[in-house]
């Protein structure tokens, strides 16, 4: 990293190298935890730059557009890995299915989205063998009720009246392990991301660990987190499926009243490194924030969900501006144009002045805003608002929708509040142009 003004991380790396070299000289064998102490021993030296102030957040639209353009450009260079080993995909699928038949459940790990491959597995191979339910565990709002409800959509399963998840799980177990069940009565539960936060909930895990050991229910799951083995205890992982003999005995005596006490997963692990980007899994991530995907590992509420519900904080889009502008009076529209064009002028002069000094492109629009007093006099000149109250009324609408922000930024001309439009320069130009063309 070699940004000119910053304390670079190269020093840090250099320090590490020196330490490593010293270790090698002393013929020390470096254990895994030494790496941690080497890192923790030295003070972290990073620059004082703050990403969110220096880089304007992306809108969802901008993100989608540029990623789509990038994907289209590199479509032929998409990663294609030989995840199926030395054989072809069909053999790999059938081998997996054979392992399922032999009383194991499968879990797939490795870097890259496994969703497409598992869906392929489900449609091409498992669909011939029994009912298949695919669960999108990465969906932040999925609940146990949803999962059970879709399992209950299997024909002839929903004739019972019992409600409550416990009863449902028992009924499902009973339905699929009844001794007189036909051969095709098998359930393949394909769970994308069994390590996602909603799937880690205690209730979900209870139900899954019960279902997983039922002889005719087969679990096919994918995991992505590096710490996923901590989710399950060794005895859960190694527990074996209940054999038909046991179930017949226990079920005939209990009539399905009590769930079998055995819980666990009987997992076999397979490496499925596809290197495909996690676009689907992260479709709920808030791309405007650097911590927008942390909900997917910590289980905190999705940042996207919070920002969209509160209305403020999410970056402004051009369409949002267009909607608001279309709904306000012509005077208000004029005010917006006034402020916008003045803001652009300010930005122009600033960038012209800074041309020589090779500064990074200005992104923080607050410094180009207009002081309240300046705006008021401007509005009076153009007959937009003749009194303070009228101007405040006009601004109120924009402030409510986040089109104009007010703050005590120092860059504005005049004292008091500064008002500015939180849009990138080029976007502001486009917005103003479109308003002017629409206006008579």
């Amino acid at each position: 990293m070699d940004t000119d003004t910053d304390v670079s991380d190269n020093d840090q790396t250099h320090l590490l190298n020196v330490l490593n070299g010293a270790d090698a000289d002393a013929q020390h064998v470096r254990a895994a935890f030494d790496a941690y102490f080497v890192q923790a021993a030295s003070r972290v030296r990073t620059s004082a730059n703050v990403f969110s102030t220096r880089v304007l957040p992306l809108t969802q639209q901008e993100y989608n557009d540029s990623i789509a353009a990038y994907n289209a450009r590199t479509a032929d260079a998409q990663p294609s890995t030989c995840w199926f080993g030395h054989h072809d995909a069909r053999t790999a699928f059938r081998r997996y299915a054979h392992e399922l038949d032999q009383g194991f459940n499968l879990v797939f790990y490795g870097f890259g989205s496994k969703r497409a491959v598992l869906n392929d597995f489900a449609t091409k191979e498992l669909a011939h063998r029994g009912h298949v339910i695919a669960v999108n565990g990465y969906h932040p709002n999925i609940t146990l009720k949803d999962v059970l409800a879709s399992i209950e959509r299997v024909p002839s399963l929903t004739n019972a009246s019992a409600t409550g998840t416990d009863a449902q799980v028992r009924r499902i177990c009973f339905f699929f392990s009844a001794a007189d069940a036909p051969r095709t009565r098998r359930l393949y539960l394909v769970i994308h991301n069994i390590d996602a936060p909603p799937m880690r909930a205690q209730k979900m895990r209870n139900a899954l660990s019960l279902l997983a050991l039922s002889p005719n229910i087969h679990l096919v799951a994918s995991v992505d987190k590096i710490n996923v083995p901590l989710l399950w205890s060794a005895s859960e992982l190694l527990a074996r499926k209940i054999s038909f003999k046991d179930t017949a005995a226990s079920l005939s005596s209990m009539e399905g009243h009590t769930a079998s006490p055995k819980r666990g997963y009987a997992f076999l692990w397979h490496d499925l490194t596809t290197l495909i980007p996690y676009d689907t899994e992260l479709s709920f991530a808030d791309r405007s924030s650097i911590s927008g995907a942390s909900y997917a590992s910590t289980g905190a509420r999705s940042a996207l969900a919070t920002t969209t519900s509160s209305g403020s904080g999410a970056p402004l889009t051009e369409t949002a501006v267009a909607h608001v502008i279309a709904a306000v009076t012509s005077k208000a529209k004029k005010l917006f144009i006034l402020l916008g064009s003045r803001q652009l002028e300010n930005a122009e002069t600033a960038s012209g002045a800074a041309m020589g000094s090779d500064a990074p492109a200005p992104t923080d629009m607050a410094q180009f805003g207009l002081g309240y007093d300046a705006l008021f006099s401007l509005a009076r000149e153009h007959f937009v608002a003749t009194s303070d109250t009228a101007l405040r009324a006009l601004l109120g609408e924009f402030k409510d929708h986040g089109l104009i922000l007010a703050g005590a930024a120092g860059g504005g001309s005049g004292g008091g509040d500064t008002l500015w439009i939180p849009l990138r320069k080029e976007r502001l130009v486009r917005v103003l142009k479109s308003i002017e063309t629409e206006a008579p």
């Binding site: 840090q12 703050v50 081998r95 590096i226 996690y278």
Partner: protein, 682 residues
Amino acid sequence: MCGVSLTPSTSDTDDVKSYTLFPDKDLLNGYELRLAAYKRAWSKCLERVQELIHALHAPIVDRVAELVNMAYTDTLPGLPYAELPVISVTVFGTSSSVFHEFSARLESEGQDGLFDDNGTHIVTHLHPQDCSNLTSAMKTLITGFINKTDEELGISLCTFDINLLQIWFDALCDSRGNKPTENFTINTTRLVVVLHDFERFEPLVMQDLFEISSLAIPRLPLVFILSLTSPPTPSYIHATYPRSTLARLQVRSCSFSTSQAVLYDILLKTFFDVEFNPDLVLGPAAIEFLVDFFGRHSPSLDGLVSILQLAHMKHFEEPLTVFLSEESLASMDLTDPGSAPFLNSVLVRVQGSTGNPTGWRVADIDVLLEFVRSVRLAFQRQSQLLRVAFRLFLVVQNFTTSLGIKSEKTLPELMCAALRGRLGTSYRYLCTIVRKLKVDQLDALLSEINDFFAGVSAQVQGDEREIISRINTARSVRDRYSDEPQQVKDVAEMIGDWLIEYFERRLVTLEELPLWDISYTGSAPFPSELLNPSLRASIFSGLLHPQDYSMTPTSNDGDDDEETLWDMSDTSILFHRYLESGKMINVFDWFESFSLVLETQRRHARTDASAHEALIRIPSRRKGKQRQVEVPEDGEEELDKWRLEVQSRFIRSLHELDYIGLIKHTGRKADHVMRTVFDVPG
């Protein structure tokens, strides 16, 4: 949210399931034949192992049943209040099936006739997941009992009210004809609660549960069985629960911990038994993995069974294993043209193993099958005799151990050495000791060997008549010259030599027999990553060396890291930069360094593209001048687009790293993230 839901199509024939890993040397219906052979072999092995496990569990099941029966009758006299009987069972590493056995045993206890279930106990199970708070714990406990029978209670109480359980129990006693009297010892029914994974229960909840239960006894004959996995000393329950709770409990404990000895015992009785002939002989590689997994990772009997099953499953993917079962031999149609590749591979093997260059023709299929049968029989016999010899070796070794001469090798090491035919030094050493035995010691050894051979089957006795008759001769010689020391010495030396000769003949590697891999896994490695995956290593190698996974191997592997970095995927680039930074990463710096790499990437892409164009236009242009190809300058709009793309790609990669758990947002410094991984192999 739950995506696809598919219903099964009608075709459920086996041919849609069949697969083969060796399409160039497999039969057309090889999968079905091998599946049948696998099922037979595995069920035989599984049955044996389960029998052994059951036998191992028997003492503890008996003990628990006895303790449950004794609860409330075997109490200390003069107690101020009744104590709640609690049986803590330490089941370290055993399979959870032991609790099935408890339930089955307790629920059938006291069942005298067909219809008389007066004395049976009623068992319910509690899991820590069900007991996050007192209400749900009580509810699970009470409904667990009530749902077991169909008593009409005629009253509605909350399901977490212990009085409901009381009413239910009274009704139950009524229907069973037992009047609930003050003298509770008459009633032999016990309400048994099994608490699974007791260490994971919330102690505060359990304290309350115990208190409530202890107020209801002895009218409600509750008995708690705790399943513990921590070692018996220091006792978990005594260390965790306060004195006030412990005072209400009458704790009795019994423990069953699987040690290496249990594993050795099961291995010995399954794969090295004189009487039991497994269809599949486990090779040294599988045994070594099994012992390692059991000792190092998880001493679990479930794991043991799974490993054995996986060894079977893997072995029966080999096309040759169709020969294992007689039925498939009979039903095989080798004259079919589709079987030609298979036949070819078998013939190559047969010729290789017999050294017979005359060759077989397809007309000789019967001869071939006959040969396979004889080879298979020979293998079975040989492996059985190897097992007998190994057991005899153990008999002699145990004898010398009792004399105080210990062996350094563990049992599985000896097993593997025997299977590999490398036990020479061990048995030579043993026989040297035998040669130097004293009179009474020799007598004892001879009688032990004699007993051992008396216990084997008649067929084995027939095969081993040479060594048996030698032992008998030695015994008779020894009897005749019982008081001549020199004679005794001679006999001892003779026996030593004979034993060496016998072991040399029997303890040879099975891999030298023709077509040994039909029923022997040999030194084929066990697919250990199925049970013990290296998850982190896999993710890191996917990020650090994505080219290793690609279908088309890249040619520029000679380049160093920095030069190829721009050629990787965005997430890999970001991860490389991650590894170079300190504990905390400034996101802006990260972004800057990332965009530098992307700039390089873009420049390369452009140079390549324009060089390519130039090459098409003027094919004669020299290679060295390609650098001078002009790269078109960007317009303002282009530059904006590029900036957006870099930011989007950065955010996408950042989110992916966050998603797989490599980043922690601490919030300690503005827009800084923390690394979670510090050591990366490779």
